[in-house]
């Protein structure tokens, strides 16, 4: 079983050289800590920076330099700043090679719900709807089950949708799964996790073909 860092480490393996990448708040932001050796990627933050870098050293925080999660950051060499319309032009115009975000629910047809629990939590969708509607390559980072042990990988989302038929890949604390026309396809198991465990935790259609390898994470 993986923790949040483990999920981030596994997704970081999907990064390719010279990609532009948007990381959502939560688990996805951790991915920036695990960029594979020898590859260069540029992180875009929806609030208007390309070339987002690490958190500043203590005492060097700049209130005018934050990321989408309102955390203080620093710019990398080669970074650029722009307004929100330009930012979403990059996103909607499909200039970004990889989008990673969290989810409350993912359906086996690729629908995603991650912005509202009616009557309880209505924080808003932020940039999520723009991101999922436009991106070609969307990976969801999430826990496989919720706090009550219920599956978050469903036949159909029960919560209000953020986007339809858009998720390509899901990485959870238990598994890596691709979304196919037949549903979730199991690609890898988390270290120490059995196929049986994954089947029990997945409510949506799950395809298991052949031997399923374990994730290789250090």
């Amino acid at each position: 079983m993986l923790d949040k860092k483990g999920i981030a480490k596994r997704i970081a393996q999907e990064l390719r050289h010279n990609w532009y990448v948007n990381l959502g708040i939560g688990i996805p932001t951790l991915i920036a800590n695990y960029i594979p050796e020898g590859i260069d990627v540029e992180f875009q933050s929806e609030n208007g920076i390309l070339g987002m870098g690490p958190f500043p050293f203590e005492g060097e925080e700049d209130a005018d330099m934050i990321n989408a999660g309102k955390q203080t950051i620093t710019p990398m060499p080669g970074a650029s700043i722009f307004d929100s319309a330009t930012s979403f032009a990059m996103i909607r115009g499909q200039h970004i090679q990889l989008t990673v975000l969290g989810a409350m629910e993912v359906a086996d047809n690729g629908d995603i719900a991650n912005w509202k629990i009616p009557g309880r939590m209505v924080k808003g969708m932020g940039g999520a709807m723009d991101l999922v509607a436009s991106a070609d390559n969307i990976i969801v980072a999430m826990m496989h089950t919720n706090k009550r042990g219920e599956s978050k990988l469903l036949r159909q989302c029960t919560l209000p949708l953020t986007g339809v038929k858009c998720v390509k890949k899901v990485v959870t604390n238990l598994a890596v799964l691709d979304i196919t026309p037949q549903g979730f396809k199991l690609i890898e198991r988390a270290p120490g996790v059995s196929v049986e465990e994954i089947k029990n935790a997945t409510e949506g259609r799950l395809i298991v073909e052949g031997d399923i390898p374990e994730m290789k994470i250090d």
Partner: protein, 236 residues
């Protein structure tokens, strides 16, 4: 050209209850702190506020929410403000949550003479309710309309009496777009400079979009999440 006003009170003097306002900023970054404080002091009510976020409970737009001066919010994310969530869930506050990219584009459109446009964002979700759908390149898009406001209130780093504005870092965000879309745009700046001091190549918002400008003061520039990394012990 002289768009200078003496102070914030003069800048906001004709903003009245019931009006629609646009306010720049992302979180607390780039918010027009002086104008928000002045609006709280004016005590006007029933405002419709278009702003990406709602501040935090005790700063930014949260100050107007606390005093129940806002009737309706049009935003994309309000998660940092518990009072906001409470007022919304109880029905005291009307809320239109719209995708951030659509909000940005709708403001820009409002100032650009583009009355409406199609976007894929929100298709298949509750954001699309009641909106026309059209297919382009085999993909569904929904019709969104431009947004304008009685007053757009923006915050910039530097500006001059022509109304030209330069923003700093991620404090830029929605400010240039909202500056275009206000019937009257008020700009508060950290540093008022002489015409000619700003290199024309570096101006982010040409003065044509700005009607009033004043030198702001005592910016708190609150940081919501002060995140840092550790220095290594050896030469860094």
């Amino acid at each position: 050209m002289n768009k200078l006003v003496a102070n914030v009170q003069e800048a906001v003097q004709d903003i009245e209850s019931g009006m629609t306002l646009m306010l720049g900023g992302f979180g607390l970054c780039g918010i027009p702190e002086n104008c928000i404080a002045a609006l709280v002091e004016k005590g006007i009510k029933d405002l419709t506020c278009i702003s990406n976020n709602a501040g935090v409970d005790d700063f930014g737009l949260g100050l107007l929410l606390q005093k129940k001066q806002i009737k309706k919010m049009i935003s994309s994310y309000v998660g940092e403000n518990d009072e906001f969530e409470r007022q919304m869930l109880s029905g005291e506050l009307e809320v239109d949550l719209i995708p951030q990219g659509s909000l940005a584009a709708r403001c820009q459109a409002g100032g650009s003479g583009i009355p409406a446009f199609f976007t894929p964002a929100g298709y298949g979700t509750e954001v699309a309710f009641g909106k026309e759908v059209r297919y382009f390149n085999g993909k569904p898009h929904i019709l969104e309309h431009a947004l304008t406001a009685d007053f757009a209130i923006v915050k910039a780093w530097k500006g001059d009496r022509y109304g030209n504005l330069l923003f700093k870092g991620t404090a830029r965000n929605f400010n240039p777009l909202m500056a275009m879309a206000g019937k009257i745009t008020i700009a508060e700046v950290e540093e008022l400079v002489e015409p000619g001091e700003l290199d024309p190549n570096t101006i982010h918002t040409p003065g044509i979009f700005v009607q009033r400008i004043f030198q702001g003061e005592k910016y708190e520039k609150r940081i919501e999440q002060r995140t840092t990394r550790e220095r290594l012990m050896v030469n860094d």
